[in-house]
């Protein structure tokens, strides 16, 4: 039995999703039923659920993707990032653990380094490592935008007086799971 679905099928699904197809979840669930072991489908499902405000199910799909393919680095990164934006920093760090094993200079390793500094409120190092990651990342522009948003916020609180409570505008929601980061990536 084939574990991974055909690239064409995957491409078709993504095209349907980008064209605002209303029954995207039905199509996706049908594909997952046919290829339950394909981590890319679970990752995709998790990304879509996260973007439409169904976080509990999103997390379980993202976890499933990483469970099926522990070396699927982008899924692992996004699972950790999802946990971070859910306020579950300890879980995020645990998820990201294996990313440190990526080669020095890999953008995901830099991003994880930067976000780890962010959790510790080490803002200078956060900006340094995130910028390092952005410079190294040429394959995933959406992720660069998300990291740039975080840099901007960090720079802002460093520059101005501490903002009052409630100023956090939830711009983490802009850390969208944009689908273009995903295309053509097969888990290794």
């Amino acid at each position: 039995m084939t574990i991974l679905c055909d690239d064409n099928e995957l491409q078709e699904l993504m095209t349907a999703m980008q064209s605002d197809d209303r029954d995207e979840m039905v199509r996706m669930d049908r594909l997952i039923a046919a290829y339950p072991e394909d981590p890319r489908l679970h990752f995709l499902r998790g990304s879509v659920l996260a973007s439409i405000g169904r976080p509990i199910e999103a997390l379980s799909s993202l976890r499933k993707a990483v469970e099926l393919a522990p070396d699927f680095a982008i899924a692992r990164f996004q699972l950790g990032f999802f946990q971070l934006t859910s306020g579950e920093a300890v879980d995020a760090l645990a998820t990201w653990g294996p990313i440190v094993l990526l080669p020095e200079g890999h953008y995901l390793r830099s991003f994880v380094g930067g976000l780890t500094h962010l959790i510790r409120d080490e803002f200078d190092e956060t900006v340094l490592r995130l910028n390092e990651g952005i410079a190294a990342n040429e394959e995933n522009p959406a992720l660069n935008r998300d990291m740039q948003l975080i840099i901007d916020q960090v720079v802002e609180i460093q520059r101005t007086a501490p903002p009052s409570d409630g100023e956090n505008d939830g711009s983490a929601s802009a850390t969208s799971f944009l689908l273009d980061q995903f295309s053509g990536h097969r888990p290794s």
């Binding site: 199910e57 971070l84 934006t85 859910s86 916020q153 501490p162 009052s164 983490a172």
Partner: protein, 246 residues
């Protein structure tokens, strides 16, 4: 007063996801802390609904505290029944249940209950929890007095961190010694075992009855009463070691 610096984590946390993670932990991972965190998050809503209904009440025989109690109960029911996967915001779901519970509670409240008032009932509960039997009666009485005094000090210490109480002003008439002891007590509550701390926080700070604390924690009312007593015993011992205490 200088506002607190934002933490790095606060910059990236999405409130909707953070709440979803509390529901997930509560529903699928049996996490006790999440239940309390959700209750604390929505107690403001319960109080607001109670205040609104209290202003519109048709009877003068029932006090505001009773409205709050029914509102808390409604909130607890709502937390138990809410399905976070259905996509309905919890506040909308809970509001209806809180309103319904207050209306039902007030309608069925007996004349005697109404006369006693919730304050009296809460004090009775505390007394029963603290009173020991079989000991030397004088020693028991003295312990009881200290226990009740501790309770009095704990009332309204603001043990639960709230953004809007960062600058709570003590009354000018509170003696320095009272305020110091109260502050010490509040810091000791933070060091209590988890279950005991929850009982103290919810009972004294939020004004929940033991039955409601029991529902919140998924324990029996008797167990909550025991935890209450254990917590006050522990606090008394700790305060004795920190300073001279009767």
């Amino acid at each position: 007063m200088r506002p607190r610096d934002p933490s790095g984590l606060e910059l990236v946390v999405d409130p909707v996801r953070a709440e979803a993670s509390l529901w997930r932990r509560l529903r699928f991972e049996d996490d006790l802390r999440s239940r309390e965190a959700l209750f604390n998050r929505y107690i403001v809503l319960a109080r607001a609904v109670a205040a609104r209904l209290f202003r519109r009440r048709m009877t003068r025989r029932i006090d505001r505290g009773d409205f709050d109690q029914f509102a808390f109960e409604g909130l607890l029911h709502a937390i138990d029944r809410y399905d976070p996967l259905r996509g309905v915001p919890f506040s909308a779901f809970a509001r209806r249940r809180i309103v319904g519970n207050i209306a039902d509670g007030i309608a069925t409240m007996s004349e005697v209950d109404a006369q006693l008032g919730h304050r009296h009932r809460i004090e009775q509960e505390r007394l029963r929890s603290l009173a020991k039997s079989g000991d030397d009666p004088l020693a028991a009485l003295s312990e009881l007095a200290v226990g009740l005094a501790l309770g009095l000090m704990l009332d309204g210490t603001g043990l639960i961190e709230r953004a809007d109480t960062a600058d709570a002003q003590p009354s000018a008439y509170d003696s320095l010694a009272w305020r110091e002891t109260q502050a010490m007590l509040a810091s000791e509550v933070g060091k209590l075992p988890e279950n005991e701390a929850i009982v103290v926080r919810q009972h004294y700070d939020q004004g929940l009855s033991f039955a409601q604390v029991a529902q919140l924690m998924g324990l029996s009312r008797g167990r909550v009463s025991q935890l209450h007593r254990a917590a006050l015993d522990r606090l008394r011992k700790r305060l004795r070691t920190r300073r001279r205490w009767p």
